[in-house]
């Protein structure tokens, strides 16, 4: 596929994968493994400090040792006309000798009163409207959504000016006006959040338990809306202060001293005496900035992004000497994601080789790093700060150390990718034809009609009936199975040497899965491609691959032919994994073998064997020393005390002949 598409495909697998290393750590349950919420940072605390100072000043303004804000300097002689800022008057004086410092302080209280009351009144009403309309839906929602849209389209400031002109300049008028004007914005944001929350299953569950609508609204939805609403409230607060400033500027301010008024008053003298306007403007600016920063801080604190916010890819260390020959050579590949919670070692010392015509399945549980192994080969990471070391060679090209444009051409012409979810991998607004032809024309100089002819042939190849007509279709016009056939056709568009398939059938039904896997494996053999099939489904591996590698904690722990691994697993984790899967040959109601404990953390993994904390056979050696790779006929494994195959531990092949409880007792142990 075209390079752009290649990344898009991986990003699709992706959002999940990019976040998964740490998300999986988050889900490992033990208290130490919950990621700390994102740190709030210096700017947040500075901003919060500023707000605290303002609050203090607003509350104690009358007690502060400052001059009377209305005292005229020209009369009292304490402050000069247009006095420059200095010891006597820190913010200087205005045209009649008012002490600007005292006036800025006097303006703090109205600013906060307006901000807080408008935010509270508008926010609470908006939240109630948004919750009710988002959850109860129906007519209520239709009406309020329409009203919200109308209100938001209405030039609110014009209304405010008109009403303000009619009802006078008291602070109450102001608060009432702005509260009404801000309701739609809050209602809209809360309604959106409620709509998406009420899709979540816990709302259904509450209903199934018999909870009343009011209870669901109040106990289930409101607490979850609180954080986004609070974040928005801070930003809304800032907007109110801006609006007051704007009104003051057109001469419609309050009957009290406000910052907006101070700024407006000073503008006439802005050239000769800039401080008169600029100082209150700076105070106002800092305040607005602080409220925005605090709002953003709250939002990101409660919705932590696990992956770094910048994109940076690095390669460390020299490549290992090339042996040549194989289609894909991965040697001591290590990939580290640098995240807020620490360095996540998603791929740790992974080596394998693939020749033309080979199919290797990589199997593992979620968070074991299997998707990351694929992404590390092509260098496609979503938003991340990544370091890779070791070697990845595709057809002799060092994928870690080539120039980006060269990488793009290797990706486009040698590597094909089949995504997990065909629906999101295809562009919904473009015809199938364009999506197949584009990668061809990006990497080969062929004419449009030639590309079209090839596309037709590909469509027949992947078993799409009536391909002529289907080429002109859009993705949504096809069924899930057909879409996956299309993504396979796109992956094959440039006759790649290496095919990477990440859970290609997980989103499909079992009868369709059978068809797609047969197609994919058939093509791989016919076209002599090397292929990696990443999956969590052991049955798929057993039914379709030649070789399998088992991933655990970012490493490969055992690899070999299907026969060898399924009949005689050596690594303790492989053995336990194989026997934990329910199997048709097992009698109904058989006890399944379980693996107690949780997958290992990928941040600061313990030394020694990653499986040691859960392994019944672990000794001190396992906890301190990482097992070396042991080569055995048709396979290798990394375990100090491999399963011997005698009565000591059961293997998948023969377990149905033994009482499962006995197996269970053996495999559990430690925890």
């Amino acid at each position: 596929m075209a390079p752009v598409d290649a990344t898009a495909v991986l990003n699709d697998v992706g959002e999940r994968a990019a976040v998964s290393p740490s998300a999986d750590i988050a889900s490992t349950g033990a208290s130490q493994s919950t990621p700390p919420p994102r740190a709030l940072g210096v700017t947040f605390w500075l901003a919060a400090g500023w707000i605290a100072v303002l609050l203090f000043v607003a509350v104690f303004a009358d007690l502060l040792p400052v001059r009377d804000p209305d005292a005229l300097g020209i009369r009292t002689r304490e402050v000069e006309k247009f006095e420059r800022p200095g010891w006597n008057a820190p913010f200087g004086g205005d045209g009649v000798g008012h002490d600007q410092f005292a006036r800025v302080i006097a303006g703090t209280r109205p600013a906060l009163i307006i901000g807080i009351s408008v935010t509270l009144i508008g926010g609470l009403i908006g939240m109630a409207v948004g919750l009710a309309s988002g959850y109860l839906r129906g007519k209520l929602d239709a009406v309020s959504a329409l009203l919200i849209d109308m209100a938001l389209a209405f030039p609110g400031l014009v209304l405010v000016i008109a009403v303000r002109a009619a009802f006078g300049n008291s602070i109450y008028v102001f608060v009432a006006l702005f509260s009404v004007a801000s309701v739609p914005a809050y209602a809209r944001i809360v309604r959106g959040a409620t709509l998406s929350l009420s899709e979540r299953a816990f709302v259904d569950v509450a209903q199934a338990m018999g909870a009343s609508k009011l209870r669901i609204l109040w106990r289930e939805l409101a607490p979850n809306i609180a954080v986004p609403a609070l974040a928005f409230a801070f930003i809304g607060f800032a907007l109110v202060i801006v609006a007051e400033g704007g009104l003051a500027f057109v001469g419609l301010s309050l009957d009290q001293i406000t910052w907006g008024q101070l700024i407006a008053d000073g503008t006439g003298e802005i050239n000769e005496h800039p401080h008169v306007s600029l100082i209150p403007a700076t105070v106002m600016f800092l305040t607005i900035l602080s409220f925005n920063l605090v709002g953003d801080g709250i939002r990101s604190h409660f919705a932590p992004r696990e992956v770094a916010t910048r994109r940076r890819f690095r390669t460390e260390g020299p490549p290992s000497p090339s042996s040549g020959g194989s289609t894909l050579r991965v040697d001591q590949l290590r990939t580290t994601l640098h995240t807020q919670s620490g360095d996540v070692r998603v791929v740790d010392d992974v080596s394998f080789e693939l020749d033309a015509g080979d199919c290797l399945a990589i199997v593992g549980e979620s968070g074991s790093g299997k998707t990351m192994m694929l992404r590390s080969i092509v260098g496609a990471f979503a938003l991340a700060d990544v370091t890779r070391s070791g070697t990845v060679e595709v057809e002799g090209t060092d994928m870690l150390r080539i120039a980006p444009d060269e990488l793009r051409s290797v990706l486009g012409s040698h590597i094909g990718m089949v995504p997990q979810n065909p629906l999101t991998a295809l562009n919904p607004v473009r015809r199938i034809e364009t999506q197949i032809i584009e990668p061809m024309r990006a990497h080969r100089s062929i004419s449009k009609s030639q590309a079209r002819a090839e596309a037709l042939e590909l469509m027949q190849h992947v078993g799409i009936p009536d391909p002529e007509r289907r080429l002109r279709d859009y993705p949504h016009q096809l069924s899930g199975g057909m879409r996956q056939r299309i993504t396979i056709a796109i992956a094959l568009a440039n006759q790649p040497k290496l095919l990477l398939a990440d859970e290609p059938t997980t989103a499909l039904d079992v009868t369709v899965q059978d068809q797609i896997l047969r197609l994919l494996l058939g093509l791989q053999r016919d076209l002599e491609m090397a292929m990696i099939l990443v999956t969590h489904d052991l049955a798929v591996v057993r039914g379709f691959a030649d070789r399998v590698a088992i991933a655990y904690g970012g490493q490969l722990v055992e690899s070999g032919t299907i026969e060898r691994i399924f009949n005689d697993p050596k690594h303790r984790y492989t053995a336990a994994l194989l026997s934990s899967v329910p199997d048709l040959e097992l009698e109904p109601h058989s006890r399944l073998v379980t693996i107690e404990g949780q997958p290992p953390p990928l941040i600061d993994p313990s030394p020694g064997c990653r499986f040691a904390p859960r392994c019944p056979a672990a000794t001190d050696l396992c906890h301190t020393t990482e097992p070396e790779r042991t080569d055995d006929e048709d396979r290798w494994f990394r375990c100090h005390f491999p399963v011997t195959g005698d009565a000591e531990i059961e293997t998948a092949g023969s377990r149905s002949t033994r009482p499962a409880d006995a197996i269970r007792a053996e495999t559990q142990g430690v925890n």
Partner: protein, 327 residues
């Protein structure tokens, strides 16, 4: 069938669903025929597994039993009382003895609540409190589902793994001491090793609390492991319903055979799936006449288009809705 028919019913069933129809109106002309005349029952203390592919109506059956969807027609009897005819108040009471566990364990828990409150809430919605229950009921339940220890109750769902969240959901469903537990893909979102823990746990709880279970899953191996009887659905209809071993050893409905043959790496005595099924699943908006499987069935004849097959007993306790069942 697939088909209709009451042949497969028992006298001593706890839950009985008769001719259940659920249709979702799409627009003025069209309706989605999600469930079209499904009849089955479950005997006390047993597990019925429902299998079928995406969109065949499995989840809808579960939701309709819970009255989360009002059925278009048909009845759902719990201990002989028809829940579809109940007033809201009666229904609230009936729901106490039926609980449903949903597919996605993480999103089915409110992330902002403490675990113990979540479990306790199972009581509160009934206007009950811990005091109405035997002392230590909640702690015992948490221990039963493997979440023992005083500190656990204070934590919030996001601190738990998928498997632990599913344990919380199970504890919460059991707090009112229900008779029937409906499980919609309770382990599908979990890793295999964790899935095994949950499946074992469900078996233990079934024993401990004498539960009657409806187990919905697309995973045939899982259904094979937990069920006493298995029901296969296709496009809103029942194809086959039979004792577990009988269904897997002697599948007689062409669709069941295709489904089993599609399991990767299976060792069953069946031809390749490609010979048993072809084409794509038709739209539930305009399902085929007669047998709904006929557009993909290798044995279909004109009779299959004209006449809908009903459930017929092909061996003791084994019912199939096909004009030409496999022997």
């Amino acid at each position: 069938m697939a088909g209709t028919g009451r042949a497969a019913l028992h006298d001593d069933a706890v839950l009985r669903v008769v001719d259940l129809v659920v249709e979702y109106p799409l627009d003025r002309k069209n309706v989605v025929h999600a469930v079209s005349g499904v009849t089955f029952d479950i005997q006390k203390g047993t597990t019925l597994g429902i299998v079928g592919e995406s969109g065949c109506g499995k989840t809808t059956v579960g939701r309709a039993i819970m009255q989360l969807e009002r059925p278009t027609s048909g009845s759902v009897e719990l201990d002989g009382a028809d829940v579809t005819q109940m007033t809201r108040r009666e229904l609230r009471a009936a729901r106490r003895s039926m609980q449903m566990i949903f597919q996605d364990p993480v999103s089915s828990l409110n992330p902002s609540r403490r675990v113990k409150d979540l479990v306790r809430e199972g009581l509160e919605v009934w206007g009950l409190s811990e005091a109405d229950m035997p002392p230590g009921r909640i702690d015992d339940l948490m221990a039963s589902v493997g979440l023992g220890g005083p500190a656990v109750g204070e934590r919030r769902p996001h601190e738990f793994s998928g498997g632990q969240c599913q344990r919380i959901r199970i504890a919460r469903a059991l707090v009112t001491d229900p008779e029937v537990l409906i499980l919609d893909e309770p382990a599908s979102a979990l890793d295999v090793s964790v899935q095994a823990q949950i499946l074992n746990l469900l078996e233990d709880l079934k024993e401990e609390f004498g539960l009657t279970m409806l187990f919905i899953s697309h995973d045939l191996a899982v259904v094979r492991n937990v069920s006493d009887r298995v029901m296969v659905m296709y496009l809103g209809k029942v194809c086959e319903i039979a004792p577990n071993s009988s269904l897997f050893d002697q599948p007689t409905h062409p669709y069941t055979r295709a489904l089993l043959a599609s399991i990767p790496g299976h060792q069953l005595d069946l031809p390749p799936a490609a010979e048993l099924i072809s084409g794509e699943i038709p739209s539930p908006i305009d399902p085929p006449s007669g047998c709904r499987f006929r557009t993909r069935c290798p044995h279909a004849t004109e009779r299959c288009a004209a006449e809908e097959p009903t459930l017929v007993e092909t061996s003791p306790g084994h019912f199939t809705a096909c004009h030409y069942p496999h022997h």
